[in-house]
């Protein structure tokens, strides 16, 4: 959508007015963040994504200087996205931070961060002896080129677009990978969990502990990164998944910590990439794409196999019992996450419950609504069904206190049960919760 000069000029005056109001209210300097985009189109999917990444950098920079952010507001306008902060920090420090961010890389060149002093004056780079901004195209001072339009709008737009294309997906992939790893660690960290490795015990497992999981999760970072950038190419994703399994097994010395998570979280990261690219990120959208990407996987991976060809636990259990496991769950867009795990996790966190409380309850809600193939392969179908029913009964009575979860932990350990599939889905809930903050509007 194109904007006119008068829309841009009006928007600038309104912005300046808001800045003055904030200074009057807080008596502290204002930080204003916009995107530096030439031409009549001031916003689109990539520009907004770059803007979100910029806000993260800026807030990180402010926090690194121990700033207190007294006020923050973000606006998505047709004249371009903009954010304003009121910050308790000397303007000199603020200008150093903003200049550092603007000059840090090519993407930073598209950030326009103004520092406005409490006397309403704008702090200039030259006042602090900092070097002037350079032109997007040539190496001249930016203001000299821009005020006379030395370079054509077309040239500026094409250069801008190239920077966005090259920088934004890469930076998002880094972010998504770290959120996915964080989610895996968060899942292990949540305590108590019946039969699973947590901070109190190693559950029903003899060959792994929290440190095994930490190493394993870290080894998957490059995979989640590539998965995010993979797009709709499901075959490519599965190849990346096999490589990731090798990294994991090397790291753990042959222990299967995250094989299920490689499958589940990998598809979720790829779906995040597609959703963000399509410009309508939310958890439901990601899960819809999970279903779309994995369509036909039960047929391909399970139904078409003879029992002699079965290699994975999931394939064997399908041949034996007809349980479609995580593949079936994925094909339906992870209903256990969408309908049970994620809503409960977020509801309890919102109520002020701890991660241990919210996470362990979400785990039980997930377990109650799937047939966990890890449970079946360890204890048989009957015990797995009983355990699911037990979890279901607990959550149906409302919030499950941690002592009750500990009792269940004891019972699972005695029977050598471990709901590893549900644990992977809990990690997905954690991830979607984190990603909502990063990508949600």
């Amino acid at each position: 959508m194109e904007v006119t000069l008068d829309q841009v000029l009006k928007c600038r005056e309104e912005r300046a007015e808001r800045q003055r109001e904030l200074i009057d209210k807080f008596s502290k300097p204002v930080v204003s963040f916009c995107m530096n985009i030439a031409g009549p189109v001031k916003t689109d999917n990539l520009i907004e994504r770059a803007f979100r990444l910029g806000i993260r950098r800026l807030e990180g920079g402010l926090l690194s200087a121990n700033a207190r952010i007294l006020f923050k507001d973000v606006l998505y306008r047709i004249t371009g996205p903009e954010a304003v902060f009121c910050v308790d920090l000397p303007v000199r420090k603020l200008k150093e931070i903003s200049t550092r961010i603007e000059d840090s890389d090519r993407l930073g060149r598209l950030f326009d961060i103004d520092i406005i002093n409490t006397d309403y004056s704008k702090v200039e780079r030259s006042e602090l002896g900092l070097s002037e901004r350079r032109c997007l195209i040539c190496n001249n001072e930016a203001k000299i080129c821009s005020s006379r339009r030395i370079h054509s709008v077309e040239e500026l737009q094409s250069c801008t677009h190239q920077i966005l294309e090259n920088s934004v997906p890469e930076a998002e992939a880094d972010l998504v990978a770290s959120l996915a790893v964080k989610a895996l660690l968060c899942e292990v960290y949540i305590t108590p969990k019946p039969g699973l490795v947590d901070r109190e015990n190693n559950g029903s497992h003899k060959d792994m502990d929290m440190l095994t999981f930490a190493g394993s999760a870290a080894s998957l970072h490059p995979y989640f990164r590539k998965a995010y950038l993979c797009g709709n190419n499901f075959e490519k994703l599965r190849k990346l998944g096999l490589q990731a399994e090798e990294s994991m097994f090397f790291e753990t010395g042959g222990v299967n910590t995250h094989k299920g998570a490689v499958f589940t979280m990998g598809i979720v990261c790829a779906s995040t990439g597609i959703a963000v690219n399509e410009g309508n990120y939310d958890s439901d959208c990601v899960l819809d794409i999970c279903a779309r990407l994995s369509k036909g996987i039960v047929e391909r991976d399970l139904k078409s196999l003879d029992s002699s060809e079965c290699t994975t636990a999931g394939q064997k259990l399908f041949a034996q019992y007809g349980i479609s496991g995580i593949r079936g769950e994925m094909e339906k867009g992870l209903p256990s996450v969408r309908k049970y795990g994620l809503p409960l996790l977020e509801k309890l966190l919102k109520e002020g419950k701890t991660w241990d409380q919210a996470g362990s309850n979400a785990l039980l809600a997930i377990l109650a609504n799937i047939t966990d193939t890890n449970m079946v392969s360890r204890g048989g179908l009957e015990k797995a069904r009983q355990a699911s029913a037990q979890a279901g009964k607990l959550v149906s009575e409302g919030f499950v206190p941690l002592e009750k979860v500990r009792e269940l932990d004891k019972a699972f350990c005695e029977q050598n049960l471990s709901p590893g599939g549900a644990a992977d889905l809990l990690a997905v809930c954690c991830y979607l919760h984190f990603a909502k903050e990063a990508f949600g509007v």
């Binding site: 006119t4 000069l5 008068d6 000029l9 009006k10 600038r12 005056e13 912005r15 300046a16 326009d112 103004d114 004056s121 704008k122 930016a142 203001k143 000299i144 821009s146 005020s147 006379r148 339009r149």
Partner: protein
């Protein structure tokens, strides 16, 4: 057009200009500061004078703090300041080139 009271238009953002007009008697008096003064000071002055001439402003003091505005921006800010100075409401200001 007659500048009747002091009026301001624009901001101090880069690629913008803050223009203040005030009533005066002795013709046009201009005070310009610009981040690109050495390079383009003369051209900026010419654009301002031309815009005032189009508006038929004979007497005023005009102060410009230029932050590297494009000519079209500068012109629009001068016009707006003049319109505001003779009591036109913000709503019917023809931003950017109503008067040729």
């Amino acid at each position: 057009m007659k500048v009747e009271k002091t009026a301001v238009a624009g901001t101090l953002e880069s690629s913008d200009a803050m223009v203040t007009v005030e009533p005066s008697k002795g013709g046009i008096e201009m005070e310009l500061t610009s981040s690109v003064m050495n390079q383009y000071g003369r051209q900026i002055k010419a654009v301002v004078l031309e815009t005032l001439e189009h508006l038929e402003v004979k007497d005023c003091k005009v102060t410009i703090v230029d932050k590297g505005a494009l000519d079209c921006t500068l012109k629009a800010r001068v016009e707006c300041a003049v319109f505001r100075s003779c009591g036109k409401s913000d709503k019917n200001i023809p931003w950017g080139g109503a008067v040729r």
